[in-house]
Symmetry: C2
Subunit: 346 residues, 2 copies
């Protein structure tokens, strides 16, 4: 996971650098990690959730900024995303969420009702996730900046001592599980902008993932290798990062990957791959083969996890790649997301 | 510190709600605390640094967003502020900074060199403060939004077990100490905008405050009641909050308050009170009288603390007010900051 071989030569920052795909990874690994983390005495990776030893207690710590447009969309809102996104980064680190902070960058002129509604949505999401918001900050910028509201949340969680998650532990033969249908969030937000003449009965999948992780840990801790919520960049980007970091191949069975018809239809019209679309309430788990059945059953027993499936496995080759096998015998490689087809999705 | 008596009726958010003064306090206590914290099961105050019990370890946790304009100014930059601001909120909670996260909201079109320079400034500030940046996030918004760059940092720190800081512990007779001259940061940033035909040989006071707190704790822990870095809203707002929360009077000796001539001059021209100007590297300490000398000496022994002074004391009346005594015998009340004379200062 060293960043030594990545260089960032782009003269200025573009939207694609925030899309969570290849350009984001170059920005983070080629610029921010060497300058900010390594030079500052931090770890050699800007992670979603970092591990911190706090007086002998193993904590996970994470932070995310949210700039989604519009502020509200079917099934969710920026406030709900801001809580669930940070709760989920902790959960993917094997940590029970403990406390969050929330900071608001507010555009002058924002209706108080909108801010109140977002704060209430955050409180509700926090209660649902079993975590308290303990502090924060508010800044106001001039009208015309900030699209109404940007929210940043940070969180800490207690790492379950039974888990030890890392791409380095992933081995050929390990099974790849997926918690449910993909692409709902990205397509929902895109449709909510009303820029396309498309309608679909679709809602964001935003939800807290800790209950699933808690069940997984109870059922399959010794076999649990790696967890990731495939947000920006989608499943393809998350698994390409895994393939690269673990120096393995991830082989997916196309037929096994759940995609709702509305998402598949929108993707076909837009020329997008559902594997590149952002999710906010699904996760990928890589599990040792002997624990795969127990892990899958554990996820399915949690309300909302009924749609969990095995979608593929880890192989030795083609190393550092994600291969999708079609039910008709062919196969194709899927890369990380390139460019930013759906900006400002979270 | 209950928010029960505050209501927020303003129909929309204005710049003054982000200024750190009276309007900010109404927004936080009248809207965000009841909706977000109390309803979410959190504490009854949206604090700068909150205390969290993490598996038996007492942590402080804090987060701040930074939207300062311009991104660089004499003596500092948004990156340096973002590290020191969060480190200082932890220090004011009596906590040794342990780990930070940093998230960036970047305007498309920002020069990579600018981002690189800010990341490097952050790394340097983190090293100086003895804390590591362990994770983060980047989002990109369209050109025309975000003024180049907004940075949010969150931090956790280990609370020194010898301290127990709270406005509730402040008693009449306690002494008020100030670490050095006030107003440098706010006036420096205002002058750096070049909107006023004023020049001054002034630099921001941004710096990490933990070394001073560490020395204070060693020298005077049992007498240490309350600490605060008077950022937005300045010394007057911080002390009015103390007076209100502790139900006491804070009586300041005007002559004792250090203000550089350049700051005093700019304030006179602008019709501002130096007591309302933001600082980023000074702090106020309230100390039991028998520990005041030891505390002052401890601050002065730390490099950069030579200018620390006793500026006043706590009295019983006029309750919930800050009174400034002139050397010529008169006295006047100074309120919290009202409005936002210097927006986007941090």
């Amino acid at each position: 996971m060293k960043s030594k071989n990545v260089r960032f030569f782009d003269p200025q920052i573009e939207l694609s650098h925030g899309a969570g795909g290849k350009a984001s990874r170059r920005l983070v690994e080629g610029l921010l990690v060497p300058l900010l983390l390594e030079a500052g005495g931090g770890p050699d990776e800007l992670q979603d959730a970092a591990y911190v030893d706090a007086g002998g207690v193993r904590l996970a710590m994470t932070s995310d900024s949210f700039v989604v447009k519009p502020l509200r969309f079917p099934g969710g809102s920026i406030g709900e995303l801001a809580i669930n996104g940070t709760v989920n980064d902790l959960a993917m680190g094997g940590a029970r969420p403990l406390a969050l902070t929330a900071t608001f960058i507010i555009e002058a002129g924002l209706a108080t009702d909108e801010l109140a509604e977002q704060a209430a949505a955050m409180a509700q999401a926090a209660r649902r996730a079993g975590v308290a918001v303990v502090g924060g900050d508010t800044k106001v910028v001039e009208h015309g900046k900030a699209d109404g509201l940007y929210i940043t949340t940070a969180g800490i969680g207690l790492v379950d001592p039974r888990v030890n998650l890392s791409a380095r532990h992933v081995r050929p033969g390990d099974q790849v599980l997926l918690s449910g249908p993909i692409g709902d969030h990205g397509i929902t937000v895109m449709l909510a902008r009303g820029e396309l003449d498309l309608q679909a009965d679709l809602v964001s999948d935003t939800r807290p993932l800790w209950p699933f992780v808690a069940a997984l840990v109870d059922a399959a801790a010794p076999g649990l290798r790696w967890l990731r919520d495939p947000t920006r960049g989608g499943v393809a980007t998350a698994l390409n990062e895994l393939a690269r970091d673990a120096q393995v191949a991830v082989v997916l069975e196309e037929e096994a990957i759940p995609v709702r018809p509305a998402v598949r239809g929108a993707c076909e019209i837009l020329g997008l791959n559902p594997l590149h679309i952002a999710n906010e309430g699904q996760f990928l788990a890589v599990v040792a083969p002997e624990y795969a059945d127990a892990a899958l059953e554990a996820i399915r027993r949690v309300p909302g996890g009924e749609g969990a499936v095995r979608v593929g496995e880890i192989r030795e080759t083609p190393q550092k790649a994600v291969l999708v096998q079609s039910p008709y015998g062919g196969s194709w490689m899927v890369d990380m997301l390139v460019g930013d087809p759906l900006p400002r999705i979270c």
